[in-house]
């Protein structure tokens, strides 16, 4: 009984954390190139809708993943045009972009389900349900493939940013765009690539939310998860591995909140849901100035 509870709980944490991990990586690669990617929430929502629609129409969940990738690239290109090439204010653009995505996704979904019947997408299934014990093998089979892809991406992102030459250049754009430009880097191109990669990852997060968890779409179904991912990046000090831990922690908070009544603690679950944000604020307070990429959020104009 006890073992069963833990196995359920751990797989629930992984399920809740997977979309967060994708989105956190999406925020992180952008921040490292000096872009404050507030539009993560919008990209995630767009990815969630695209994944559901493509998976339903093709009958294959992996087509949903592909569609989410496509939408992510498109979102990244739009954001890059606006915040890198023009460049417009990143925060204001991101917030407006989120509103537009909220409007467009709800609009499109309502038009497509005129009868009011929820579309149920074929979900990515785990090999089998969580077994009675917590063991790596049992867990590996109890989560969807997207969880493993997310973990792989964490590793790849870390290796790219911290163990390769291009990764170093990438980070230099985030630290000081001016110096990077003086050293001969094309700041615009690096930042555009970062936004496309970041939005792609965020859209994958949306796909993980729908195909790996709730296989349908509802208005504003991301409910601020993109911003939890943002919090995870700050809490994880802009490091992929630590951000992953933060996502797991926040995922655990969410999983606990759902189980709070079963725990019989008589404790209001909303306090658990408050935790990610409060912890992040505490972390920001403790960190001080010089931790994040210094040029994050600053538009770069030639000359």
């Amino acid at each position: 009984m006890e073992g069963q509870w833990w196995a359920d709980f751990v797989s629930a944490v992984l399920r809740a954390a997977t979309p967060l991990v994708f989105c956190a990586l999406g925020v992180l690669v952008c921040e490292r190139a000096g872009i404050l990617n507030i539009g993560v929430e919008g990209s995630m929502l767009a990815g969630a809708l695209a994944a559901v629609l493509a998976a339903v129409s093709s009958g294959n969940p992996w087509m949903g993943v592909v569609a989410a990738l496509g939408v992510g690239v498109a979102a990244g290109l739009v954001l890059a045009l606006l915040t890198v090439y023009l460049p417009a204010d990143q925060v204001a653009t991101g917030i407006a972009f989120n509103l537009v995505c909220l409007g467009v996704t709800s609009f499109v979904y309502k038009l497509l389900v005129l009868g009011g019947v929820q579309l149920m997408a074929p979900a990515l299934r785990a090999a089998h349900g969580p077994g009675g014990r917590v063991s790596p093998v049992a867990l590996a089979a109890a989560v969807t493939p997207l969880t493993w892809i997310a973990l792989l991406f964490v590793l790849l992102t870390w290796m790219f940013l911290f163990r390769t030459g291009p990764g170093l250049l990438w980070r230099s754009v985030g630290e000081s765009a001016r110096a990077a430009h003086a050293a001969g880097l094309n700041v615009f191109r690096v930042r555009s690539v970062a936004l496309v990669a970041g939005s792609l990852l965020s859209a994958l997060g949306g796909a993980a939310l729908t195909l790996g968890w709730v296989p349908t779409f509802t208005d504003n179904m991301t409910m601020g998860r993109g911003f939890i991912a943002l919090a995870a990046v700050y809490f994880g000090r802009w490091h992929p591995g630590l951000a992953l831990l933060a996502c797991l922690l926040f995922g655990a908070g969410e999983a606990l909140a759902f189980r709070a009544q079963a725990l019989g603690a008589g404790f209001n679950p909303y306090y658990y849901l408050m935790l990610p944000y409060v912890l992040t604020l505490v972390a920001v307070a403790a960190m001080g100035r010089a931790v994040g990429p210094r040029d994050a959020g600053k538009p770069y104009a030639r000359g």
């Binding site: 995505c101 409007g103 920001v284 307070a285 960190m287 100035r289």
Partner: protein, 358 residues
Amino acid sequence: MRWSLALKKATVNKMLRAGWSSSATLAVASVVLSLAALCLCSYFAGASPLKVMLSLFEGALQGRYALTTTLSEWVAMTLSGLAVLIPYRAGFFNVGGQGQLEVGAVAAAAVTLSLTAPRPLVILLALLAAVAAGVLAVSVPLVLRLRRGASEVTTTIMMNFACIQFMYAMVTGPLKDPKSWYGTTPPVPAAYQLPSFPPGSGVPAGMWVAALIALAAWWLMNSTVFGLYLRAVGGNRTAAVAAGIPVDRVLTGSVLMGAALAGLAGGLELLGYTFRVAEGWSKSWGMVGIPIALLGGNPLGVLAVGLLFAILETGSRSMQALTGVPAALIYLFQGLPVIIYLGLRASAWYSRWTQAAR
């Protein structure tokens, strides 16, 4: 003397011309373009764009109930817009309006539900509590910005969600209506609700408060030393320090003012419009305040854009009922004009145009 006056007048004229020709024109153009996009979308949804536009505006303006709703929405939209605009001038991007509004409403609800006193006193105390809660909610991001140099954008976003979860915890916990099956406070006692003004007219009293505050903000930002300081601090911090302007004090003042208005918006909406704080009780007024502030550009512009947004928000329901176009399309309208506006303003074409105007 005459000469200097003439010079001043010429300068003022030039500034007025530049002010109008640039940002206001752009804002109007982006709103018009967005309305066109709205028409296009409704065409794709199989409805006549003309009918959609008519149903939007009639649904918001025709009949007493619709008008009262629109004006009540306007209160929140205007105050939320100002809550962003004033700190933005000083270089502080207050994304936390939503959270400040939510805790403002919670505080006001707590006062009206726990206090028994003459009506004006309770209303006054409730609104003061709302203001205080808004200020409290912004104090964390403000201190982190001043003491730790942390970007206020992310910290105010974190505070938003923390405040919303706190509101949920309150309406399902200590402030929960025992008679209700879902998370909500009891309704504000009829004796403590905000009346309409003039009495019986259906015009919410909050509207007059919001309009007066907008006018006061216009005066503050354009005709006082504080307004000048605001622009100096937001424009070039180093220069402002060199000029001996108390930079941190000006920043703090503007941020607290903004948050106070967001909290007040929560209190006014509770006492005059929704009467309950509950799960999903509010629209995303605080968030929409950001587009409103950016498009409005100054307090009077905020009033105007706020009215337009309030009309569309109220009208969207009748649009959905009459034409079948989903009401969620309105969110598109809340974001798109800002994107067009920011895009146009940052474009090379625009900088050439303003150079030519000079």
